[in-house]
Amino acid sequence: MHFFNKTVSLCILLTLVIACEKEIELDIPGAGESIVVEGAIENGQFPFFSLTTTLSLFDPNFSLDPSNYFISDATATLTTGSGRTVDMDAYCLGDLDSTLAQEIAKQFGITPEAANSICVYSTFELQGELGESYSLSIKTAEGQELSAETTIRQIVPVDSIWTVPEPSNPDSLRVLFAQFMEPEGLGNYYRYFTQTNNEPFYPGLFGSVTDDNIFNGQKVIAPFDKGYARGTEIEFETYGKFTIGDTVSFKLAHMDKAHFDFWRTVEDPGSAGGGLFSTPIQIQSNVNGGLGSFGGYASSVSTIIIE
């Protein structure tokens, strides 16, 4: 339906060329600082999360202190369903060996430029396992406690991926297709990512998540737009397409409902302050005592080189 929302917006803008936009001043008192968790655990990968604070940007009394923004003095443990508990420690990527920092940044889908100013909690003692459940608990230096629970489901294998020429520029641009068999039974949730050459995996820009309502139990063959790091400039002409010579990987991550609901609401324009036709959407969180999400991915990856 993203397509439709875009079309509606385009249509209204087209017909109402006379509409005027201007900045306005608002005086909104902040709600007070909350803590935000953003993290994941994926099969075969180390778990990680970041811990940040909310920002009362419209509160006239709010002053921004970047050193406060990342919380790096909390203690955190991760416990598996089978009873194993490990500590997760804070790493500020700027303080790490640059190769390691870039590797971690890549895992998070963070652009190499942004990596230096980011802190994450992780552990190298445990990697995600299919079918396992995890419970994360965090305690800040001020004594605030947060927790989240998730599972890594079973993978849904990607059968194959291929590309077809983009009709507007068949000489150099390619559209990615993927095929997978969707298991019987409603209640499967997916997020997809693409990786181009040495870049990190980036999720699709307009709706990287879906439920299985529309293709439950079917063989799915569909085109997938190239994923992008958020906040990067995008060229309209090449949006979503790959180039001849690219090495392209497609990752299909199977999720539980809470993890899906988080990304589903994050990706709705309403979660970022709305727009012409969107209403406010409060992001659905699975974190008790805070905002954000810690969720499991059961990922299957397929790679090709475009010739």
Partner: protein, 787 residues
Amino acid sequence: MFKFLITSLGILACSLGISQNFTVSGFIKDASNGEDVIGATISVEELSGIGTASNVYGFYSLTLPKGTYTLVFSSVGLSNSSETIQLNQDIELSVELGSSSEQLQEVIVNAERNQDNVQTTKMSTVEMTSKEIKSIPALMGEADVLKAIQLLPGVQSGGEGNTGLYVRGGGPDQNLVLLDEAVVYNTGHLFGFFSVFNADAVKNTTLIKGGMPAKYGGRLSSVVDITMRDGNSKEFQADGGIGLLSSRLTVQGPIVKDKSSFMISGRRTYIDVLIAPFVKGTRAEGNSYYFYDLSAKLNYTFSRKDKLYLSGYFGEDIFQFSSSTGNFGVKIPWGNATATLRWNHLFSDKLFMNSSIIYNSYNFATEGGQLGFNFKFYSGIEDWNWKTSFDYFVSNKLKVDFGWNYTFHTLTPSTAQVSSQDTSAVDFSTDDISPKYGHEEAVYASLDYEVSKRIKINAGLRVSAFQQVGPYQFIQEENGAANDTVDYGVNELVQNYWGPEPRISARFLVDDASSIKASVARTKQYLHLVSNSTTTLPTDVWVPSSALVEPQNSIQYAVGYFRNFLNDEYEASVEVYYKDLENQLEFEDGYTQSLNEEIERSFVTGEGRSYGLELFFKKKFGKFNGFVGYTWSKTLRDFPDLNGGEEFFAKFDRRHDLSVVASYQLTDRLTASGTFIFATGNAITFPLDWYVINNELKANYGARNNFRMADYHRADFSLTYKGKQSKKLKSEWVFSVYNLYNRWNQYVIFFDESENGEEIAPGISQPVAKQISLFPILPSITWNFKF
């Protein structure tokens, strides 16, 4: 049940009748075009306070003791007529009322003594003629029935340029909008900026915002009853207009003089044609948008006793887009269609019947293709309706209405299909979502009885029911996964709802020119529309009451004081109301649309209440006329699953709402009109804090509807200059200015990262609040003609 109703009404009628009474009855028509006059007043000069009014088909019936009487016939905008009758037997007396334009002075002197607003039991009801609607300055010169209604107290618009109606705290789906008895589900062209009703084809509009008579049902908050022109039965006539946005043409005339006539009216916009040269060669080429609508009506009078009407409406908005490379294209049509076949029959000079068969539909579709994939979205609603009503003019003190209504609904929720030219690929479709079918029935009876000179009551009972029937597959869900399904066959009962809807209103006459009225009305609603967007959209989907959704209920109490001044030249009223709403519907927190899932599964239910005070003051005629309407109101919603269970203001809660409408005839040929509107800003949900997810700034919203937009105010102005009025051609120029002082009213407020603001996190800059305003000062010109 129904037999019992008729029998008991008959007994009641007999017991109230007196043997030496005779009946005078007939039809009231407009002398200039032969159209039925709705709501004309018939008063008896010799008997003060005795009188009646013509019904929707111009029929009246008055039963009086034997004697000699002078009957005075009057109607707004038409000159009075009086007839002296010797009533010693039943008399047929049909009357034609002349146009008041030639006899303007006389009308002012007569002042019609139209005291409907004081004398009848009707309250919270306003009628507007097409003429009045057209005299109000309009956006782009498009006279608009619904926007005229929004100026009345107790009625709010959804926002700038929006034709959605919010009546006394009710939602936009709670208005029963009828066009020649057919329900119109989506009342807006171009995302609601213009209403689907062409003012040229409309004869009369009645708004009922409280004390709904028993003959109306199916919606909680209001009735907007629009009657189309019948067609001139005297002479051939064409009128139309050429405006900036659209052109209109109406043709009407007799088929068989005084027996049969027709009317056909159409309009079409030409934004698409105007824009085309400017977008040629740009990325926007291949995009187009237009809307049109067509109304038509035929009538045939077989005899005094039998008359047939056939009317229809068809309107469509079409948006087309194709990419410059031609590999992607989409077409989005949507619109309403209605058809009404009506039969009027006079069983006696006291018993009038109308029976109608009505069809109506609303459809929305999107069809397109890209890269060998074709997709189609579709949603719609279709009704077949049989409605019969009786008006029984028992005596000059008692009038009884009764009838029934049956509707078969087919509602198709948003369905999607994706098909591929690649045969190895599986086609997707939302086959888990199938249309829903429902039967809706109602029987009603109401009586309007004058207890004494001072007291008159209108008491009615409507009993309504709704059955969801198969084919339907009920899926029992747990945590988003199906764990049981039940299949229902064709017409097999899935769910049944019913309930009584008692209505009562009473009038207490204080003196000749003032009265106090009170009403209580219970209403039920079996079809629902839930929308998350800031405006009414063509994609809005109606859903029926079903195994998943219960009917909405409401009860409204209203009390008012009504007074006329200075020979009825001025009319004033004060009304207060309190309304309780049950089973109100909203989307759950965090709702985003999901394909192939019944949207009902994302509804949460709660309660609502609304109360307010409405003031209305109108100068009815004279060179200077117009009205002032003011509303103070509060509208609240209470949902256990929203806003942490705390009560919150509805989006359209509005503390103050003021409209001033004035018109002044400067010379015989020049008239100036103006409007001024002031309204408290809409309630809106703002973020209190922000946080970063995936390197993007996200909002942490505060309580629901925790802030207000800026107050809305605007003035419009228009000048109408009549050209030379020859017998052959009458024409006029209308110059209008919308938003005279260029106020930038807030349509939407949203948050965006500022382009050169301070960085608060890597690559993320401070957000800013922005407003979008739709219409700056907008002059327009329209040429209207008639020959």
